[in-house]
């Protein structure tokens, strides 16, 4: 076909591609991905950085162009540092809580559930088929002082008087645990499911009890799952916005809410450059925190004798 005297345009196109060096062809295949990330990821990110240096209009809306450091200077206000602190603490607590609850659950699913495994996994996934928003509103109903939980607890005589949890940090914590738990369970489940059960048997065979086996074999070997799960929970948690707004009654300001307010807040309460500066700072902080975390993890996992 290619030898014909008058090759079709398509053929010529093909041979032109084939004449490209390997890197050229790779580039061609990667082009759609590059374009996508360029347009929908990099460009907005760059735009955000640019806006963060602009000057707030004072009444919300797009800022005036220019180069100012005001927004970054504002970050140092103890008020906003406190919000950073509160957010990090919540993200850490939420991550640890998800890990503490998720690990035993994932362990059970991977090792004990056997026949019901699929059903149970499905049950964990099913809530994810509804919107995050709806699930969170559902908790608002459950935690309500006249809600299901309150009534059940009273009927059982566990509490006297109605439950006053809604719009408190406890409600936020419950919402976080619920919404983020599957993100923790799945990587843990995969890690535990892939764990060679004979290693656990070998450990027991060599005289290690259940607990010793867990600490010496199961946990170290599922650490990659723990790391993945923690990152999957921690990173979005630092930007969590809806749960504090809905279950916290907007009384408890976290970084996500603060940033949201800068863009969606009414009139004076919105400030695009400041919001952008907060966003940039969170991204940079997360990059640092995550890298430290991963470095620490690699040190733990590193092979002592692998120098050779």
């Amino acid at each position: 076909m290619r030898a014909s005297a008058n090759p079709s345009l398509r053929d010529r196109g093909f041979s032109a591609i084939q004449r490209l060096p390997l890197w050229g062809r790779s580039l061609l295949l990667l082009a759609p991905a590059f374009v996508w990330y360029g347009v929908f990821f990099l460009a907005p990110l760059v735009n955000m950085v640019i806006i963060s240096f602009e000057e707030s209009s004072g009444y919300g809306g797009p800022p005036a162009p220019g180069f100012h450091l005001d927004s970054y200077r504002q970050l140092l206000n103890p008020l906003y540092l406190k919000v950073f602190g509160v957010t990090l603490r919540m993200a850490l607590l939420g991550t640890v809580a998800c890990l503490l609850v998720g690990y035993p659950l994932a362990y059970f699913l991977a090792t004990r559930a056997s026949r019901h495994k699929t059903t149970l996994l499905l049950l964990i996934i099913v809530p994810f088929w509804t919107s995050f928003l709806i699930r969170t509103y559902a908790w608002e109903t459950i935690l309500d002082s006249d809600g299901v939980l309150s009534n059940i607890l009273q009927a059982l005589g566990i509490t006297h008087g109605s439950l006053n949890v809604l719009y408190t940090p406890t409600a936020i914590f419950i919402g976080i645990l619920y919404n983020y738990l599957p993100l923790m369970i799945f990587p843990l489940y995969v890690a535990l499911d892939r764990l060679d059960k004979r290693l656990v048997e070998a450990s027991k065979d060599l005289g290690a009890g259940r607990i010793a086996t867990f600490w010496q074999v199961t946990l170290p070997l599922t650490l990659p799952g723990v790391v993945t799960g923690c990152l999957l929970v921690f990173i979005p948690l630092t930007g969590e916005y809806l749960i504090p707004a809905i279950l916290g009654g907007s009384k408890n300001l976290f970084m996500g809410n603060l940033i949201g307010e800068q863009f969606q807040g009414q009139g004076a309460s919105s400030d695009w450059p400041f919001g952008a500066a907060l966003g940039v700072t969170v991204v940079v902080l997360l990059l640092i925190v995550v890298n430290i975390y991963l470095l620490a993890f690699r040190r733990v996992q590193s092979v002592p004798g692998q120098a050779g």
């Binding site: 009444y59 809306g61 008020l79 809806l242 907007s250 603060l258 009139g267 004076a268 309460s269 400030d271």
Partner: protein, 388 residues
Amino acid sequence: MADTRRTHDPASGRLDTATTPRWNPSLSRRGFLAASAAVGASAWLAACGAQTTTKTVPKLGTKLEGQLHIYNWGSYYLGRDDLKAFQQQFNQTVTEDSYDSNETLLAKVQAGAAGYDVVVPTGYMVQIMAAQGLLYPLQHDHIPNYQYVDAMFKTLPFDVGNKYSMPKDWGTTGFGYRSDLLPAATSWQDFFTLATGKASGKTIVLDGVNEVIGSLCKMLGFSYNSVDPAQLEQVRQKLLALKPHLLAITATDDITLMSNGKAILALDWNGNVLSAQAQQAALQYVIPSEGSEFWVDNWALLKNAPDPIAGHAFINFLLDPKISSKEITTTYYAQCETEAFKYMDQTLASNAVIYPNQGTISRLEAQQALSSDGAKLRKQIWDEFKAA
């Protein structure tokens, strides 16, 4: 924030019957639950129904293009029948798009959103948009019905002389309280005393910087729009003292919380308190004695409107007292024309929550666009209040 009062389902604003459909909170969700999701942009209404209305025609004989584009808070903020009548009478096709906040409107227009004729900014936003040259200077001779607009709406600080805007409807910010559970309250001072006392943990405030700070300014005897640092410092102290007693800061759950009785004291707009009254008859709306805010939503034309003539015709049409008197049955907010009372449902016209008496009105102040520094100072106080 003005969107909630506009986005509530008009049906629930009814005061008369208990059989009215319940207020739909999703329409009032702010920001993420954009009201725009509930209502599409379509308004290609079939020209049917023999609705006869006034014969108002623009005085200038310029030809209308046949297409009018409205950018509004949502179709529930414009009577369907009135819209149909306008289309029939002027042989216009009307297209509607919706936004969920003044800031969205501003951002869209600044970003160059083209093709819209009529927009509906709140007072302070009229001021901002006019200052940026985004609004079309209105030709008053194209709007003969301007004559019906009450005098008090012709000298409002955000647009003296209505150069850029015509008032659409208006409402107030005050507080609602449960008269069956709390002693009678008449002032912001009463609100604060109850909030930090008997109603502690059952008090909510709007999630709006202007309303909350402005209201406490009034309590302390300052202007609703004060940006004086010393005055705002006093407001800040009061806000921080108030915070631990709040159940929620919300412009999305306020009606629900009042309706189910969890909130017995609420800093809110009149329309929202009215909505909750359907469930809680003992809920009383108070315009505090120290004074408060009244806000006005306005018709305005964009500078680059494709068909300003049709835009003028549309604004003039809706300022017709016979038409505006019907609008109230859709929006349940007060109209700006005394003339409209003649044609209005008298239970609405005589409702003091919708139409306060003159004495009360004289104590109200309009929200204004603030100076940049003042806005920043208020914002810091607001952030601190929320983070506390």
